[in-house]
């Protein structure tokens, strides 16, 4: 498996004098609906960083933004589609993936990306996630995992760590959490990666790779939710959480996925774990179904 290299930062130009008229474009401006900013996310939230990486990846992968559809469900990350200056779809809770399937299959020239949260994609929309991966539909699913339902004030979900405190697990969470890369890989995804929002360079490269991949690609982005999850679990503020990522992230794309479970205050194994080729749903549809007519 190809290891991704973090690019050296370009030399920073320092002005001798501050120019009187500064007419610079923000690097994400071309892809965002500027008139919708500022966004709704709390300070310290990781979703903004995830969007930055996504926009950089769009440029890197040379995606034609007029052919790009971003589909979100409901929740904090569910708001991403609405800030993207492309064909954007803010759908119902959990149903971003099937909505995206309709877009993709009715016009396979579209580049369809589902950008949503862990509650949306894995809890209420979990069934759709399994089946979209199984069918190897040509979709990119980006899931920001902040371990709880942020929009509604921090409730537990299928990604909450064992023992994690949320408003609905006031004594700690007694449930096992899903290991998302393992789940995606088991269901048949052709590209599976996990990064934290601290890993911006790798994250950007990885999303770019996912966008270029034919078939079902999945990127999990571990993100702080300092207002809800961080605060209730003594993780501290956003910077403390980033420090925790820095000290506990292990980049190991070769790691067996069964060992990539996440735990409160435990190690976070990141990497592009799966990168394989197989025919997509439409490849098989052409091969099996359409070949039967003259």
């Amino acid at each position: 498996m190809e290891r991704l290299r973090v690019e050296e930062p370009a030399e920073i130009e320092i002005w001798e004098e501050f120019p009187e008229e500064l007419d610079l474009e923000h690097p994400t401006e071309w892809a965002l609906r500027g008139d919708r900013l500022p966004h709704i996310w709390c300070s310290g939230c990781g979703i903004g960083a995830a969007v930055n990486a996504f926009v950089a990846a769009l440029k890197q992968a040379e995606i034609d933004i007029t052919k790009l559809c971003v589909v979100s469900g409901i929740g904090c990350t569910g708001r991403v589609a609405g800030y993207m200056n492309c064909d954007s779809f803010h759908t119902t809770h959990g149903r971003a993936i099937p909505f995206a399937i309709g877009l993709h299959l009715a016009n396979p020239d579209l580049k369809v990306v589902v950008f949503s949260g862990d509650g949306d994609i894995i809890a209420i929309g979990g069934n759709h996630f399994l089946h979209a991966a199984r069918r190897n539909l040509d979709l990119t699913v980006i899931c920001v995992n902040n371990f709880n339902y942020g929009m509604t004030g921090g409730q537990s979900g299928p990604t909450t760590h064992i023992g994690g405190r949320t408003t609905t697990t006031p004594y700690g969470n007694p449930e096992y959490a899903f290991n998302l890369p393992l789940l995606a890989a088991a269901c048949g995804a052709v590209y599976v990666a996990r990064w934290t929002i601290l890993d911006l360079g790798r994250l950007r490269n990885s999303i770019a790779k996912a966008l270029q991949k034919r078939g079902f690609s999945f990127v999990e982005i571990i993100s702080p939710c300092p207002v809800n999850y961080g605060r209730r679990n003594q993780i501290g503020d956003a910077l403390d959480e980033l420090r925790y990522y820095k000290e506990n992230t292990i980049h190991n794309p070769e790691a067996p996925l069964e060992e990539c479970d996440l735990s409160l205050r435990g190690k976070i194994i990141v990497g592009a774990f799966v990168d394989r080729e197989k025919p997509t749903f439409l490849d098989l549809y052409r091969q099996v179904v359409l070949s039967r007519w003259e």
Binding site: C86, P98, F99, H104, L105, E294
Partner: protein, 414 residues
């Protein structure tokens, strides 16, 4: 790979006379209207619609996908519609219930699509293979929040074809999901279906922006009741929003935006009621009793009407083709001239409430109920007709109980 026989493509419109299943006629109507995307999930008694689409769509350049559930099915057809395809799904009671949330998504995002509900007896799993008409109010009010809906009710295989075509045309014209509320009996009837030549089938396509994306400006809703619908990928950078939104699709969390949006969504249907409404009436002039019904119940009622007429009772009939919107004005007008309406339906009183509302106390309105699993006995409808004609009291529950005790419960226990 499986050995393949090369097949010859049949056209999308199978012009000619057919001996065809009602469910299949729905599928053929969809194809004739230009439907090229179907997402569905098997459910009795609607499965034949999906099966027919699975067989036919690939040969006409369309695509059938079987989803993991009905929620995914309706979400997928909404997505497909935004990619420019005419899309459809079909289902029955339990699946229809699952679709309710995303029916609302289709309404608030003004997405043209068609949902066929081949009604069976409920609640819950109920009698999967047997008839019901218990989803008529769910069709009207099933998704949360205030909205208007269009629902058509066929009573024959021919109308399964015709009304599915019309459902697509209405969906495209008014940018809204349209429901075809058929039932297990109509869906499973095999009878004559005439499919006209392509040039005799009226087709409506959605209005799209006339300006290129760089010059396209969203107009105010005050100028435009039904905005044009750009297609994803055409450069218009559409913003399709399930939250309360403004003309651009931008969410606005304020009651004023809610009032503007919801009022327009309702108005675009209500202001066009006259053009949407459709019904068939017979022998209304001089009638003392009018049997108002729809779907298979209206068909059963024709026997009761004939029996009553033989007895010398002046009976007219009024058959709903659009259940929603409901022809309030005409029903009200008739109510002022007759002794009463008799409303047989395979539920315990749904459309009858609308008849009562329209009649506004001007005449009697008798429900002839039936819980489902069977059609009415024509004699049960006749009994109500006679009660109205002779001014005798009539209790729908007692009448239904009498029919039940005449036929003791039997059937296999599963």
């Amino acid at each position: 790979m499986v050995a393949t026989t090369v097949r010859k493509r049949r056209p999308a419109i199978l012009t000619g006379e057919h001996f065809m299943l009602g469910d299949h006629a729905c599928a053929e109507g969809a194809l004739a209207a230009g439907c090229r995307f179907f997402a569905g999930y098997p459910i009795t008694p609607a499965t034949e619609v999906a099966e027919r689409m699975a067989e036919r769509l690939p040969e006409v350049g369309g695509l059938y996908i079987q989803m993991e559930d009905e929620i995914a099915s309706i979400a997928a057809i909404l997505g497909a519609s935004w990619a420019g395809a005419k899309s459809m799904t079909s289902t029955s009671g339990p699946g229809f219930s699952l679709m309710m949330e995303n029916l609302g998504l289709g309404i608030i995002t003004e997405t043209p699509t068609v949902i066929v509900n081949v009604q069976r007896a409920g609640p819950s799993t109920g009698l999967p293979t047997l008839v019901g008409q218990g989803d008529m109010m769910q069709a009207r009010w099933g998704s949360h929040g205030p909205y208007e809906i269009i629902a058509l009710v066929p009573w024959s295989a021919q109308e399964c074809f015709d009304l599915t075509v019309r459902a697509f045309n209405l969906a495209e014209e008014f940018r809204t999901p349209v429901l075809v509320m058929t039932d297990a009996e109509v869906g499973h009837l095999t009878e004559k279906v005439v499919i006209p030549p392509a040039d005799q089938i009226p087709i409506v396509n959605r209005k799209t922006p006339t300006e290129p994306p760089e010059r396209y400006r969203v107009k105010s809703w005050d100028e435009e009741l039904i905005p044009p619908m750009p297609k994803a990928g055409d450069g218009y950078r559409v913003f399709v929003e399930s939250l309360t939104h403004d003309e651009r699709g931008y969410p606005v969390m304020h009651w004023t935006a809610q009032e503007r949006l919801v009022r327009r969504l309702i108005k675009k249907i209500q202001a066009n009621r006259e053009r949407i409404l459709d019904w068939k009436e017979r022998d209304i002039e001089g009638a003392e009793v009018v049997v108002l019904s729809y779907g298979i119940s209206a068909r059963v009622a024709t026997r009761a009407i004939a029996q009553a007429q033989e007895k010398g009772i002046k009976v007219g009939s009024f058959r709903l083709i659009t259940a929603w919107p409901f022809p309030v004005e005409r029903v009200r007008e008739i109510a002022g001239k007759i002794k009463g309406f008799v409303v047989p339906e395979i539920n315990y009183g749904q459309m009858v409430l609308e008849v009562e509302r329209a009649a506004a106390g001007q005449c009697r309105v008798l429900l002839v109920p039936c819980a489902g699993g069977r059609m009415h006995e024509p004699e049960a409808i006749l009994e109500a007709i006679v009660a109205v004609a002779e001014g005798r009291p009539y209790d729908p529950f007692e009448a239904a109980s009498a029919w039940l005790s005449a036929k003791p419960v039997k059937g296999r226990e599963d």
